[in-house]
Every structure is written in structure tokens, then in C-alpha cells.
Amino acid sequence: MTAKTLVTLEDVGLRVGNTVILRRAKLTLEAGEKIGLLGPNGSGKTTLLRLLATLIRPTSGHGTVLGARLGTDDVFAVRPGIVMVGHLPGLYPELTLGENTRFVARLAGRAPASADQALAAVGLAGAAGRRADQSSKGMLRRTELARVLIIEPRLLLLDEAHAGLDAEAVGLVDTIADRVTSAGGCAVLVSHEADRLEVDRSLRVTDGAVEEVS
């Protein structure tokens, strides 16, 4: 483990209900890395992402995320440095895209203007007044990417990174992930389609373990 290590998992086991997601999983993520996370349907990629986001605790083993030990109250302090974009949008359907983004900016302690700038940066300046439940999947995804620009996280977790996005938006995902890594952060991109990912290295979740894909 080096000073540049952002995430470590040591023999981490994770069980949700009656399903074993991980068994003695090992993982190290360094600063500046862009990681692809692969695996078939139902293999636990999303759950692993939520574990890395400190939202679920490991059932056994140890792990650290941004210096906080998983399963302890230290994780509360590091959460504002993590952005997770799940496969379902983390937006309030009844609020407009602008209201959603400003809500995030205010709670993250950023100026509301930064929300408008971020929306413009993802190409949604003209759609700020549109309700989330009236917007397309691609627009919702772009709104969530605006969240990454506002928070400037050290750990970016993107589930189904390229699902349902047009070519322009796919480029946007990669640009934003690169911004995070070049600022000394780490980005994890989940995808089914290995060939569409431009990443430093890829990991695969199979049979409760995380393996390096060459």
C-alpha cells in the first residue's frame, strides 16, 4: 500500500440476505487509475460498487476507502469525496434538472452558480427547467454527470457507464472520468461491453472474487 492508494480490500466477504456477493475479495485502486469493472448479469458489480461507496459494510475482512476503514464511522467523513452514478438515476422525478443539480450543489457546500455551469458543461443549459420525469434517459445521465463536475470527487463510481448513451455522451463519460483521474482521483466504470471501455486495467467479478483481466 502506497500513499497513492485510494481503495484497498483485503479478504472482504459480503453477503446480502441469502446471497454471497464476495468471498475473500482482494482489490487495490491507486490514484490516477481508470478501472473497468466487468462481469455477467447478477454477478454483484453494483453491490461491489456500493461497497466501494461505503454504503454497505463488508460482512467479513477489512477494507479502506479514501483512508477510512469500511464498517467504521470514519466513512462519514470521506463520503463527500465519492460520487456514485447508479444505473437508476439519483434524481427527484418531480424536480427539474436545474433544481436537482442546485440541491446537490447547496448540500455539497458549493455555490448554486456552479450547478448551472455544470449543467451547461454537459450540454443541458437549455433543459434546466425540465422536470426529471419528463426527460430522457440520456438527459438524466448527463444531469448526473454534472454532479461529478460540481463535487469533483476523488473516487468516481459509474454503474453501466455507457448504457443508453449516444456517441456524444459516451465521449462525455470518458472526459469526465479522465478529469477525475488526472486530478489524482480514481474512476471505476462498470460495463458489460469490455471493448467500449478505454481504461488502464480491467477487473472482473466472478464467483465471489475480483480478478484482474489481462
Binding site: 453477503r15 468471498r23 455477467p40 447478477g42 454483484g44 453491490t47 465471489g208
Partner: protein, 239 residues
């Protein structure tokens, strides 16, 4: 002798319950109410057990939140189940008692009203337990609900008490000494019965947990194992 050593609680409980039954049936009946009054020996101890059982539930809930050890959650759940049964018994016995004495099944006596609410509060607690599948999540949510409910009970009781005092005066009679001894014996008997039931229920829930674990290990339920490559031939052809 081994039987006595491992089952001393059951044997003692049987003796005390037996003594209480004999005493409860043979002691002189109440002068004004007659034999009907004997149902007090069921009603009062059952109500006491309701409070004892839910007190144990809250102890288990707090201890689980502090330590996270599964046996505390099992204690809370087991005690609540038994508590609900005795609360129901207390209410039904109270109603059977009330009918000949006051001419109606229900009186708005504060303790009776509180006991009835207690019954529903803990039915809710058990319904909550049933609704959550993950064991840890279930333990945590129900521990908090158990504590919330317990804190509210004295307030519920006090509010009904005040409400009653505004509307009519309390009619509590003192009871004779022989009757009081019988009542204490009945309370003791019920408490022993509760202890036996709690022990058996705990043994049972330990077995349940072991079974759950064995099924888990046996099925090798690793995420992804349930999803395999699709094979359309298996769907067969129609037409």
C-alpha cells in the same frame, strides 16, 4: 438426575403452576363477586407478563444495538412473541371477567385500554419483523421500533390515566390477604411459565438460524450463479 439438572426450570415451573392452580381453585371465593373473581388469577399475571416480556424485548433491542450479537435479537423477538400471546390472554380474561361483573365486555379502565394498545403496538413490531428479510437489517429496524414503542408506553398509560380521571373516579378496591397470597402465587407461576417458553423459543430460533446457515452453505448461493447462458431450445416450439 441428568434430567433434573438440564430441565430444572421446566420441573420447577410445573410444580409452581400446579400449586397455583390448586390454590386458585380451592381458596375461598370473593364475598361479593363469587367464583367469577377467580379469573383475576389469570388476568393480572397475564398483564404482568405482557409488561415483563416487552421489557425483556427492549433489553434485547438495546443490547443488540450496542453489540450486534444475533442472540440479543433472538431474545427480543422471542420475548415479544410470547408477550403478544399473554397480552391477548390478559385482554380476553379481562373481558370475560367484566361481563358478569359490570354487565359488559369492555370497560374504559386505563390499564385495560393501555394493555389493548400494547397488544397492537407489539403486533406491529412482529409485523415489521416479518416484513424484513435480511437478518441484520431486520434486527436493526426492529430494535429501534422496540425502543420507540417502549418509551411511548408510560406516556400512553399516563395519558389514559389522566383522561379517565377527568371523566370518572377511579374504583380500585383493596383485596383480602388470602386472595393476595394466591395472586402472588399465580404471578410467580406465570413468570416461570414465561421463562420456560422463552427458553424453548430461544432454542428454536437457534435451530432456525442454524438451518438458514446450512441452506446458505448448501446452495452455494454466489451472486451470478443463478443466472446462466440462455438456451432457447429449452423453451420448445409452438405451432
Amino acid at each position: 438426575m441428568k434430567f433434573l439438572r438440564t430441565r430444572w426450570l421446566e420441573v420447577t415451573a410445573l410444580l409452581v403452576v400446579g400449586a397455583a392452580v390448586v390454590r386458585g381453585v380451592t381458596v375461598a371465593a370473593d364475598v361479593t363477586q363469587g367464583d367469577v373473581q377467580r379469573i383475576m388469577y389469570v388476568h393480572v399475571p397475564a398483564a404482568w407478563l405482557a409488561f415483563l416480556a416487552f421489557g425483556v424485548t427492549v433489553v434485547g433491542s438495546v443490547a443488540w444495538l450496542r453489540s450486534g450479537k444475533p442472540h440479543w435479537d433472538r431474545l427480543a423477538a422471542s420475548s415479544a412473541e410470547i408477550g403478544v400471546v399473554f397480552t391477548g390472554l390478559a385482554i380476553v380474561a379481562g373481558m370475560i371477567w367484566a361481563r358478569p361483573v359490570w354487565g359488559q365486555f369492555w370497560t374504559w379502565e386505563p390499564r385495560l385500554v393501555t394493555t389493548a394498545l400494547l397488544f397492537f403496538i407489539y403486533l406491529g413490531y412482529l409485523a415489521l419483523r416479518r416484513a424484513v428479510i435480511d437478518p441484520v437489517e431486520r434486527a436493526r429496524r426492529s430494535a429501534i421500533m422496540g425502543i420507540v414503542a417502549f418509551i411511548q408506553i408510560p406516556i400512553v398509560y399516563q395519558s389514559v390515566n389522566w383522561w379517565r380521571s377527568l371523566h370518572q373516579t377511579s374504583s380500585r378496591n383493596s383485596i383480602d390477604a388470602p386472595l393476595r397470597v394466591t395472586l402472588w402465587l399465580a404471578v410467580l407461576a406465570f413468570t416461570f411459565a414465561y421463562a420456560v417458553m422463552l427458553r424453548r423459543r430461544l432454542e428454536l430460533s437457534l435451530l432456525e438460524a442454524a438451518l438458514e446457515l446450512r441452506q446458505l452453505e448448501g446452495s452455494q448461493a454466489v451472486a451470478g450463479a443463478a443466472v446462466v447462458a440462455p438456451s432457447l431450445e429449452k423453451a420448445g416450439h409452438h405451432g
